[in-house]
């Protein structure tokens, strides 16, 4: 027994419960079947209650994770024995079955089998027939062990909306008897795509949502990375695309702490204190990007990771290799021709050539009029570029539109600063 207690113990326990819940649910689902998720969750919950009852006096076991798994395993064996008893078997048969049951169940709790079960669970939660919202909520609940309230906070939604999503997803899984297996062959490739999309979404939800509080955003990014790593460490998931996605997450996460200033203001890339960038994560980013450089398929994650890595390489904003970035964005645009990519490419273009050309590219984006009226980011970027070429009237109009469109205080403050600097330049 170790006797350290206090704040750190509390955090250990929070994360422990969350991670172990995911593991236990995966293992027990493999034993009891995916249609018995409720029984599985009850068993996991009973395990936690037992832990709580025993740990609350400030003493944790030396291996809390192993302790929980052992309790869950014993409960499982009990449950199955009870069911065998109810079947009214002869004592002799029950005894023989009992011995083999125990060793069979033991197998499911081996480390490699646990990882395997977790992967099955990820595939089930990211089933392509579910809509994306439901996939994300179900993954967070079932694989990551987040509570409904935490999911609502992380996804800026309400408890009842999240509950509905989870319920809907589970009903589908039950009724359609979704398989609890790791797909093979061409099916695997297709299913992995969906998993990547969900993990990418999870990460970005945490990385970009300024409105959610810092802690939960951090947890979300860390969780997306943990699951991606789980995938990368399994023989089935160790694909170039998985490594590319993981490296992208590492590069992005390295800047996590330098993007937000005190009082929750946004610090743009240009102003970020690069000494705060996490060098270890940048190193990992390159490590995984290297692993990703095999095979002949170049995914969007490869290109996005290369872009993020390019930014990490530059010691300061001025020495960024804009030319190389522009090339990467051209490439990305071919693979992912979306308005956001076009917008981001224009920002790079403004650094490489002249700003007017960047403005023209933005104005050429299909349906740009509507985008400027409804999405703050287009109005904010274009307004900023107009400001740089001295077209203050357009700059002001667009920045004010952007200000109106965003509900995030941090973004409003950033836009207000830009508007103020426009006025200053008029005065001087």
């Amino acid at each position: 027994m170790s006797s350290d207690s206090g704040e750190s113990t509390q955090q250990i326990v929070d994360h422990l419960f969350r991670h172990e819940a995911g593991k236990m649910i995966a293992v027990l689902t493999r034993i009891f079947g995916i249609s018995n998720l409720e029984l599985v969750e009850d068993t996991v919950q009973e395990t936690f209650l037992k832990a709580l009852q025993v740990w609350k006096y400030g003493q944790l076991p030396d291996n809390p994770s192993g302790w929980l798994m052992q309790v869950a395993r014993n409960r499982t064996i009990d449950l199955i024995r009870r069911q065998q008893k109810m079947a009214g078997l002869s004592e002799e048969l029950a005894e023989r079955l009992g011995a083999s049951t125990e060793s069979a169940i033991q197998q499911f709790f081996l480390d490699t089998e646990i990882a395997d079960s977790q992967l099955r669970m990820i595939f089930a939660c990211c089933h392509p027939a579910l809509n994306q919202e439901d996939q994300v909520a179900l993954t967070l609940k079932t694989v990551s062990g987040f509570g409904v309230q935490e999911i609502a906070r992380a996804l800026l939604s309400t408890n009842s909306a999240i509950q509905k999503r989870i319920y809907r997803a589970r009903e589908y899984i039950r009724q359609e008897s979704v398989s609890f297996e790791i797909p093979v062959g061409p099916e695997l490739v297709r299913r992995l795509e969906t998993v990547y999309t969900v993990l990418y979404l999870l990460f970005n939800e945490g990385y970009n949502s300024i409105k959610a509080d810092e802690l939960i955003r951090y947890d979300l990014c860390a969780e997306a990375m943990r699951l991606c790593k789980l995938l990368a460490e399994h023989k089935v998931g160790a694909q170039p695309q998985t490594h590319a996605l993981l490296s992208l997450m590492c590069f992005q996460a390295s800047r996590f702490n330098s993007r937000i200033g005190e009082d929750n203001t946004i610090i743009l890339l240009q102003q970020q204190d690069r000494s705060k960038w996490d060098q270890e994560l940048i190193r990992l980013g390159y490590y995984y990007l290297n692993l990703a450089s095999t095979g002949d398929y170049l995914s969007v994650y490869h290109i996005e990771s290369a872009i993020a890595g390019e930014h990490c390489l530059a010691p300061d904003f001025e020495s960024t290799n804009w030319q190389s970035l522009l090339g990467l964005y051209d490439y990305l645009l071919e693979h992912k021709p979306t308005p956001v990519v076009q917008l981001n490419r224009a920002i790079i273009l403004a650094q490489v050539t002249d700003v007017n050309q960047a403005i023209d590219t933005i104005l050429d984006i299909p349906h740009i009029k509507g985008l400027l009226e409804h999405h703050y980011i287009y109005a904010a970027v274009l307004g900023d570029l107009y400001g740089r070429v001295g077209n203050k009237a357009e700059a002001r109009r667009l920045l004010e539109t952007a200000y109106r469109l965003t509900s995030s205080l941090a973004e409003k403050k950033l836009l207000q600063d830009k508007l103020n600097s426009l006025t200053l330049r008029v005065d001087s």
């Binding site: 006797s3 207690s5 929070d14 419960f17 919950q45 709580l52 009852q53 006096y57 400030g58």
Partner: protein, 115 residues
């Protein structure tokens, strides 16, 4: 400072069938209480007790099975803490997280034997 024992009686969480969120919250309350006691240098130790037990009683002892009491009267565990006085120890017990599930704390000073 003197040593005191907090003896806790409360229904078990398993009987109450707490939800994951409730158990998480209960755990947090316990750890922030214990953390607070440790930070003040008052936490000495503590342990849970199994619910099952035996009662041994009588001249030619009769052994009976536990549990010996209603769920909420059962001693679930104890803490040993340090405090200046019984009054202060009692005040420290105000932080006990399970009052709202009808739990109680018995505060007792531990007698120190002189050498």
């Amino acid at each position: 400072m003197k040593d005191f024992m907090f003896v806790f009686r409360s229904p078990s969480y398993e009987d109450l069938k707490l939800t994951p969120e409730q158990s998480q919250a209960a755990m947090q309350k316990w750890y922030s209480w214990i953390g607070e006691l440790s930070a003040k240098g008052r936490y000495v130790g503590g342990a849970p007790l199994f619910n099952e037990g035996k009662m041994v009683k009588g001249k030619s002892p009769v052994i009976t099975d536990g549990p010996f009491a209603e769920g909420k009267e059962l001693v679930g565990g104890y803490l040993i803490i340090k405090a200046e006085s019984l009054k202060e120890a009692t005040e420290l017990a105000f932080g006990y997280p399970d009052f709202d599930i009808e739990g109680s704390v018995e505060v007792r000073e531990i007698v120190q034997m002189p050498m």
